[in-house]
């Protein structure tokens, strides 16, 4: 059993104008935890993309549900939980488009998988909705001599 320290929790409505609040929160917490700037950018991108997926595909444009973001630390990892209350996700249906197929859209899942170390859905304990967990290892900064 891993012991996680919760660093932050926010709840936003499923609206595109809320994404900046999410990005700013991820940036602030990751910076406080001493992450490298390049990793902070990756975490901001991944959490933003995952929120977008919930807004566009989980709830869809006609439903404004809530999205909860929890940020936790487990030793040398930052862990992001995105909790929604939409219909359960069919994991088999979630896939990125083939990258050689040039068309708008379908890149979010690819970007998330590309920049995070671990991505998975975790058990909701029979509650309606989904919990997406994304992990990123915190790399140590190299001190200049």
């Amino acid at each position: 059993m891993i012991k996680n320290n919760k660093l932050a929790e926010i709840c936003i409505p499923s609206q595109a104008e809320q994404l900046k609040i999410v990005r700013d929160k991820v940036h602030m917490i990751a910076e406080q935890q001493g992450c490298l700037q390049e990793d902070i950018k990756c975490m901001v991108l991944a959490v933003n993309e995952a929120c977008m997926n919930i807004m566009q595909h989980g709830y869809g444009p006609d439903i404004c549900g809530n999205i909860v973001l929890e940020i936790l630390r487990d030793n040398d990892h930052l862990i992001f939980h995105l909790i929604d209350f939409a219909k359960p996700v069919d994991e088999c249906a979630i896939k990125s488009r083939p990258l050689d197929e040039i068309r708008p859209g379908g890149l979010g899942v690819h970007l998330i998988n590309e920049v995070m170390d671990e991505v998975r859905y975790i058990d909701c304990n029979d509650r309606t909705g989904n919990i997406l967990e994304m992990k990123k290892k915190i790399k140590k900064k190299v001190r200049e001599s």
Partner: protein, 110 residues
């Protein structure tokens, strides 16, 4: 996000700045498609883009495709580091015509 446009030779330059996310990318898409609808050759200047997500990238892909299908020119110029990072992660750096500057693009046309 802010959008400005100006004419430069045979091109309409669309200058995007700030954060091009799901909230603002529909405006970018609309502007790009409007210019292409007017039969303009389009260069999108990304020098002042601080953040772009997959919805912003999708607007650029759509512009690229519409231009290609209509025999118009489309490209990206002055791509900022944050924008280039996402373009590269999306493996689109070899798909979009990308130019260091407007001058660079213009020289290719000579």
């Amino acid at each position: 996000m802010d959008i400005k446009t100006r004419k430069e030779g045979v091109y309409t330059i669309i200058i995007l700045s700030g954060e091009v996310d799901l909230h603002f990318s529909p405006r970018a898409r609309e502007q790009i498609l409007k210019c292409l609808g007017d039969k303009d050759n389009v260069l999108v200047d990304l020098s002042c883009v601080e953040y772009i997500d997959s919805s912003g990238i999708a607007s650029l892909v759509e512009g690229y495709q519409v231009a290609k299908n209509n025999g118009l020119k489309f490209g990206l110029i002055n791509v900022s580091d944050p924008a280039m990072q996402v373009i590269q992660l999306s493996r689109l750096d070899t798909v979009f015509p990308i130019h260091k500057s407007l001058k660079d693009r213009m020289e290719q046309d000579i």
